[in-house]
């Protein structure tokens, strides 16, 4: 992958506030800032991992990018075209180029449609194939995701979780998209199946030069598939770096704590696990200053007052911490 490849997806200052309504007249008493000013770019053929705890807004970010949820503010450019504010009919044409893979393989397939009908519907609606050609294409798609064409007449409930996730992938691939948003595609699967699905997604990405926004709540899952990783905390990106840099020399205390939570099989190098204090704060009332400061093991008085911007601390490595330069040297064991 060359650095010269063009940017396929550019997200700038994306915000999604959900109103909190109370009382008989549904007055808006506040907002949940699910996504609060997120910016990133994904290049053609790149895999960007998006990692964070539950409730940090990573799924909302993914849905906003596809406009499955209407963002409150911000811009999403796909292939140079602004898609926020695009009329419904034009958006529908664009949807062919960007697809989504869901977390829950059980609820993401319509139980009333057989695999063939599900895939054929996609193909015919977009005018990609009809009749015998569609039949052929359904078989190809199933082979592509490691299923047998002879299973085409089965219904979703006859498949296992891993197989259903493969069906979800086949459905997304049916429209030959450029960008796939994988919304925690392996979180609901058994560990043994997780690796299979991640490998499948990686193989497909290489074969078809797809671009992924790969959402996960676990750094270990995205390690093998991502070129770059963005870490989200409470609606903001706190660190964004090439995978290798992020895993070797994290520059944000939150990333450090996430990395320490990955179970290690290296017994000689026993890591000290950093257990964060408290819970994720209420996104309706985020803490002052740095949003991570109440739980941060490096917190200084300034952190409670001033919000650190996301700044480049090393080439291509961005961090939103006042003390980013000190993070990598600071060993978690010293805490």
């Amino acid at each position: 992958m060359t650095e010269a490849t063009r940017t396929l997806l550019e997200v700038t200052n994306l915000k999604k506030y959900f109103p909190i309504k109370k009382g008989l007249l549904s007055r808006t008493v506040g907002h949940v800032r699910a996504v609060d000013g997120v910016s990133f770019a994904v290049k053609q053929g790149e895999v960007l991992g998006l990692v964070g705890e539950s409730g940090c807004g990573k799924t909302t970010t993914g849905r906003c990018v596809l406009r499955l949820i209407e963002p409150t503010e911000g811009s999403v450019k796909f292939d140079g075209q602004e898609i926020i504010g695009l009329p419904f009919s034009e958006m529908r044409r664009l949807r062919r180029q960007m697809q989504i893979i869901f977390q829950d393989p059980y609820s993401s397939l319509n139980p009333r449609l057989s695999v063939r009908r599900m895939l054929t519907e996609v193909l015919t609606v977009h005018g990609l194939a009809n009749g015998a050609a569609a039949r052929e294409r359904v078989g190809d798609l199933l082979r592509l995701v490691g299923l047998s064409p002879s299973q085409a007449d089965r219904y979703p409930h006859e498949f296992s979780g891993g197989q259903r996730q493969r069906l979800g992938i086949a459905r997304a691939l049916a429209v030959e998209p450029k960008l796939i948003i994988a919304d925690e595609p392996v979180s609901a699967l058994d560990v043994s199946i997780q690796a299979q699905i991640v490998n499948l997604l990686r193989d497909l990405q290489k074969e078809m030069s797809l671009t992924y926004l790969f959402i996960a709540h676990d750094l270990s899952v995205v390690e093998h598939i991502s070129n770059r990783v963005a870490v989200m905390y409470l609606g903001k990106i706190v660190e964004l770096a090439p995978s290798l840099d992020l895993y070797r020399s994290p520059r944000h205390p939150y990333t450090v704590s996430l990395l320490s939570a990955i179970p290690s099989h290296d017994v000689t190098h026993k890591k000290t696990r950093i257990v964060l204090k408290g819970d994720v704060p209420n996104p309706a009332k985020p803490p002052s200053g740095c949003r991570f400061h109440p739980r941060c093991f490096m917190a200084q008085p300034v952190c409670a007052v001033e919000e650190p911007p996301l700044r480049e601390v090393a080439p291509g490595h961005c961090s939103a911490c006042h003390f980013a330069e000190e993070v990598s040297s600071k060993t978690p064991a010293g805490v």
Partner: protein, 369 residues
């Protein structure tokens, strides 16, 4: 790729439905019983030996006749017969069997001209006895009318009131509930407040109040339509709320989001992905609420504001058994329509329960377990 379960035929939702349905014999029994009842209702003029309003002024409160196979002289008769009974005490309507006067039951006899299914003219009836004898297998009422005939003609009203009513309230509920669930916002608020208003008034008072809007003495066909309209007007609210909830939860589900992400039109998303997945709930809800309509007709007719005499309905047949004397002396007036209502309502409930189990989409989708 070898798959050990390759040979098993794919389980379409239909196949799953039948496999599940076979597991609940009560539901099947309910379905069969209802099938039989509706068949009898359709063929009522043919099965009934007499027209519903035909009176025999010499046979008031005639008790049900027993079928006999052994003749008075002890010989066996393959053809069942009934014995003619004579009124012995006019005051208490006491009848006594005449062991000698045998009336053999004849099948496919000529009687009053009728129209089967409303189109097929004939004078054949399923059974009867040679005139001037009369057969009252389930007794006669205070006007000397055959209870079997009235039960059959009455079922035409009592059994259809539920189905026609559910079709009307189903349409209203699906439309309004669907709008409320799909569009949300203001439409949702308005529709849901209306349903709450309807549901908060005790339904019996609402039925009677609405009935008061119509004149009391209308032709029976118009009364029938009025009853259906009243019951449907009351019934749609509950259904609309259920459908609104279903549509709402469907809209948030991943496969609907997937369909939207695939760029399907709104109409396609609703018609192919949302509605088919609410259908199983709707069918069950409809089946389970039909008894409510049947009982609603019974209540109206029992109160005397429903189907008017001489037209029969199960409700106004019960109306005849209101007095203590009727209950003690002529119990068949209560037991016959009562049993018919009881069996129908139970059959619908069993069928509905079975349908719910068989159509449960969680079971169809396999679930996580």
């Amino acid at each position: 790729m070898t798959d050990p379960v390759e040979v098993v035929a794919p389980q379409s939702p239909g196949v799953v439905f039948w496999t599940q349905m076979k597991k609940s014999p009560l539901a099947i029994a309910g379905g069969v019983l209802l099938g039989l009842f509706y068949l009898l209702a359709m063929l009522a003029p043919f099965v009934a030996p007499y027209p519903q309003e035909e009176m025999d002024r010499t046979k008031y409160f005639h008790p049900p006749q027993g079928l006999h196979w052994i003749r008075a002289d002890g010989s066996f008769s393959l053809r069942p017969y009934v014995r003619e009974e004579r009124l012995v005490d006019v005051g208490s309507f006491e009848y006594q069997e005449d062991p000698v006067r045998e009336l053999p039951l004849r099948f496919f006899v000529r009687g009053e001209p009728i129209y089967i299914l409303g189109v097929l003219p004939t004078s054949l009836h399923l059974y009867g006895v040679d005139p001037p004898g009369r057969v009252f297998l389930l007794g006669s009422d205070s006007f000397g009318r055959d209870v079997v005939s009235r039960l059959l003609y009455g079922s035409q009203i009592s059994l259809t009131v539920g189905v026609v009513g559910i079709i009307i309230s189903f349409t209203l509920g699906l439309l309004l509930g669907g709008i409320a669930g799909y569009f949300g916002g203001f439409a949702d608020t308005v529709i849901m407040r209306i349903t709450e208003l309807l549901l908060s008034v005790p339904s019996l008072y609402l039925i009677i109040a609405l009935r008061a809007v119509f004149p009391v003495d209308l032709p029976s066909r118009q009364i029938y339509l009025g009853i259906v309209a009243i019951l449907a007007f009351i019934g749609w609210a509950g259904l609309a709320r259920v459908i609104r909830g279903l549509v709402l939860s469907m809209r948030k589900s991943d496969f609907v989001t997937a369909a939207e992400a695939l760029g399907f039109s709104r109409l396609r998303v609703i018609a192919r992905h949302v509605l088919p997945n609410t259908m199983s709930y709707v069918i069950v809800a409809a089946t389970l609420s039909i008894p409510g309509y049947i009982l609603g007709e019974v209540v109206l007719s029992f109160l005397g504001v429903g189907v008017q005499e001489p037209s029969a309905s199960w409700g106004n047949m019960l109306n005849q058994a209101r007095s203590i004397r009727a209950l003690t002396t002529f119990p068949w007036l209560l037991l016959v329509p009562g049993t018919a209502i009881f069996l129908t309502v139970m059959a619908f409930n069993f069928l509905g329960d079975g349908l719910r189990d068989a159509l449960d989409p969680r079971r169809v989708s396999g679930g996580k377990a």
